[in-house]
Amino acid sequence: MRRLWRYQETYVALVIVILSLAITLLNPNFLTLENLFDLLKSYTFLGILSIGVLFVLISGGIDISFTAVATVAVYTTMYVTLQHGGNIATVLLMSAAIGASLGLINAAIIYFFNIPSIITTIAMLNVYYGLLTVFSGGTWLYNMPEWFRRFAETNVISLVNPDGVPYGLSVIPLIWFAVIVAAGIVLRYTMLGRGIYALGGNPASAQRAGFNILTLNLFVYGFMGLLAGIAGVVEVMLAQRVATNSMVGKELDVIAAVVLGGASLTGGVGTLWGTLLGVALVGIIGNGLTLMRISSYWYNVFIGLTIIVSVGVSAYRRKLQRKRTMTVEVE
């Protein structure tokens, strides 16, 4: 029990509970199944990307380029699909494949040139996004195929609320759930996943222990790209158009959610649970402000303050702890 307070995840969970209670007191609509389903659907995009970012952060790197990767992947996919047709499976597969390829390029550059990941991915964000702008001319794609729209509107659970309005759980969050399960298995039960933790914890030792650092890097950034490709499709499902500029610029929101969930920017530390909690907190703040009829301009202020408070509390605890044990270290 005492151990729980060491983890930032605990604080985030606590904030979520308190916040949920507070919002429910002000607007009982918050704690309804309808609102929950709605939240899940809206935050699938952020949720999927956050898992990719989690992998990258655990490995000790960072990726800034994933929004551009998502845009390029889904734009190309829908462009081809609009011309040649396809189905939901081809769309998801193609977008994921393009995303993964771009991720592999990032990994190769980081590994072979030994450029810090932050610099590589900032540069590649510009390259990917720039190329897209050049070739698309910034034109948005409309008129998504009928089958694509129908899929996006599918509910796997259909219910009716007390006012007689139908609602349900969309198929879209199921994609997110699938990603969560897959990521959980990789991180906990495969040598690949443990290797990512090892790499982030101590790169030199990981190499000495016999991990293939190139493989690990390729996987981490490739997986990030793959998830970006899928997240791009999710965004288009929700908006039913492909915009060239709707995703780029949201990188820091995603990274913030993951860091909020306890992942460390210095690598080696982070959990799937924490990331889910981080995304949940970001979602609840956004949704809660709407339900409480507070101007959406306040949204960024609240997100920022929440990060400072929750990261700050656990960091401060660690600082106190270090101070207490400092003399021991000196000895």
Binding site: T190, G193, Y197, G201, A209, F211, V328, V330
Partner: protein, 498 residues
Amino acid sequence: MAQPFLSMKNISKRYIGVQALDRVDFEVAHGEIHCLVGENGSGKSTLIKIISGAVQPDPGGTIEIDGERFHDYHSIDAIRKGIEVIYQDLSLFPNLSVAENIALGEILASGDRFVNWAAVYEIARRSMARIGVRLPLDELVGEISIADQQLVAICRALTRDVRLVIMDEPTASLTRKEVEALFNVVRDLQSKGIAILFVSHKLNEVLQIAERVTVLRDGRNIGCFPAQTLDDRKLAELMTGKQLEYSRPVPVKLPEQPLLEVRHLSLRGNFRDITFQLRAGEILGITGLLGSGRTELALALFGVNPAQSGEIRVDGRPVHIKSVQDAVRLGIGYVPENRLTQGLVSQQPVSRNIVLTILERLVNRLRLIDHRTVRSTVKHWIEQLSIKVPSPEAPVQTLSGGNQQRVVLAKWIATQPRILILDGPTIGIDVAAKSAIHEIIRDLARRGLGIIMISDEIPEVYHNCNRVLVMHKGCVIAEFDTARASEDDIQQCINQLG
């Protein structure tokens, strides 16, 4: 004698411009505890790297392990023959649990793609059982003590069928009690027929644990000696090739007025009722076991963790030391034990490290740093302390331990302190460099500084200090005048503490 486990003959290794090893013969018998000693640059680490297969020797030498002769010897051969190296940095993953750290390499080597957590714990438990230690398997390695981390590294080495464990400076960051515990583990390994090759430059420890000692100097094997035939001094002479004399400080007349006076100083949970005086030109030693409060006392005097009650006087005037700035203003300097993390910016050049504490004084009229003054100041200190550097712009981390310690000293002496607190001034430094550092410290005292020297090593405080305080459980329990007491008196006092 029976056939040795490891036998190397005529091993040479030449790096560009440096003959790291010169026709070295080396042997480790089955199940023996063998120590390898030598100063920095004597070729110890090259020899280890060759044994572990990480580096290949120049043609002409032979390596024979367990009766099998190798022409081309690589890491994979070493692993197959059951040779494990525990490097000084331990190569652990601080963010992973103890169990995983122990078992990860074994699972990786088995080629499994999936992790069976039951097997992880099983491997870890089996390994711990072999040396009879208990470690908290679920705790993160980054959160356990260095001594326990060392045990994790040993357990990890034992997951395979190991025949020879090489430990590189295993005691560098352990307290005396922890060293004892480690030695018990080492003897236990030996009783299971595992040979241990111990690399160290703490001579008293070497002599305590080893059966045989091989001495390297300048890449040559000086000889292999049974440990009973050696003592500290003999070993030091073999390592350096010089006659070493521990000279005693010359008694000088000290001024009546104490430079620093501490009365009834207390800090709850750290130390209590500390009273002592320090005169200008005097070296005061403080020794004691781990947790005796000596470092805590130093940190209080330097304002890091200020004392709660009691009185401090400098030049007879009562002063308040509530922060490091207060201490520095009063002319107190502190050289921490852990120079790499606390005393130096190791990636930065020597020059910048030296002037770090005195930049204030090196500015010109425009309040900009005057680089000409900086250069001459740096040159002055490099000469004064005879720091061996290829250039003042070489990063500190490229220097040997002894030279790094000189840079730390230079940095603090440059502030022209009147009181200098040295915590473990020669930890991790080899014998010859040690006596040079001692000479510098005595010279500082002759120039009128008051020096407090904190050290584990009784000979070090005895031979350098005018007086020695022994601390235990936060209190000063004994004071010795080194002109009258003997080294044994102090040692006995410490031994009684247990």
